[in-house]
Symmetry: C2
Subunit: 184 residues, 2 copies
DNA sequence: GAGATATTGAACTATTTAGTTCTTTATTGG
DNA sequence: CCAATAAAGAACTAAATAGTTCAATATCTC
């Protein structure tokens, strides 16, 4: 066998993701991806078909890694998980603010259809997981209806992370929101 | 005096806005703006300094026109206005889906600082108007705290308009959300 | 160490883009 | 109708960008 490559697909995704996350697809330059991943064009193009392919791979990678955190599957299911999802779902790590998936929704007009599919599928999953947690609390209102609201609120929190005001203001907001939901 | 121009600034903004709204700043080509406004480059560049200037002008124009609708100042102030704001604030007119301002938040990384200022100022205004309407209903919780939640929920609804699922699913969601808030 | 094989790096290309400039054309006032 | 004025149109420019190609280089197996 010939020379082994000295980067893994995983590594590249891990490094490229924050760039797409912060700047979106359209305004991320290939040059910047070379710099941040430390892999040059020919390397990137042997691993990924094109920029779109790399973007979608980053998106999938992000959603998988978020899924693995298991915020909504911790036993016992209930409001606590929902609150934790709202508090810690949106990340707060340097350039990685909010949710890559929510951010991407803004760019559907120019993203490959695949991206749309990946995002909506994940949202459907979140909706189900949220509903399961809410169900466990036996509210009067239909759990799926409450879950819908939570997901919209979550999307709002995520997109607001693009503001400088940051995480601080959201903690209190989340407490209050959960309080309101508990009455349903 | 020489030849009068046959387009008004207003007209141009009205036509350019939906393009920026749908595609964002980065992925809107000058060529497309020429086509949709019917004004060619030299016309656009005599009226606006550059693409950024045109974008910010569109953003201001949008916020002004939204402000004029007066959704949150109709007497009597109260939950009815808040509900109406959530229902009809996010537009549903062809390419103009959701809120141009919320959509723009995603692109702060590449937009002029001015855009950030315009958006945050407007959000502060909305926050105050929402609080006034909530105040009128004399809730136990601080009106500003409830207003914060409404604004986040609104942002979520707006960004979700980028999904095909559309307006239908949001009506019920808004009713339920207001129900929850009334208990606070 | 030799040969096979795959990666890497850099030079290259074709296209697209924002922005400019200059000529042509239309409209006005006197 | 003429001269002044300004808009419109088109050709042009310089820079950037995604994507390609190919020679040089590194590493593996035998």
């Amino acid at each position: 066998m010939g020379r082994p490559k000295n980067f893994s697909r995983e590594e590249v995704l891990e490094k490229a993701m924050p760039v797409f996350w912060k700047q979106g697809f359209a305004d991320t330059r290939l040059q910047e991806l070379e710099r941040t991943t430390g892999v040059n064009k020919s390397g990137l193009y042997t691993e990924f078909r094109d920029k779109e392919d790399l973007f979608v791979a980053c998106l999938r990678h992000y959603l998988e890694s978020q899924g693995k955190r298991g915020l909504l599957t911790k036993e016992p299911l209930g409001w606590k998980n929902v609150k934790n999802f709202l508090k810690n779902g949106p990340l707060n790590k340097g350039d990685q603010q909010g949710c890559f998936s929510v951010n991407s929704m803004r760019e559907f007009a120019i993203l490959p259809d695949e991206a749309y599919g990946v995002v909506t599928e994940n949202r459907a999953l979140l909706q189900r997981l949220l509903a399961m947690n809410i169900e466990a609390e036996k509210p009067k209102m239909a759990p799926s209806a409450i879950a819908e609201m939570v997901l919209s609120f979550f999307s709002g929190l995520c997109i607001e992370r693009n503001l400088k005001s940051g995480k601080a203001s959201s903690t209190r907001k989340i407490e209050n929101f959960i309080t309101a939901l508990r009455s349903l």
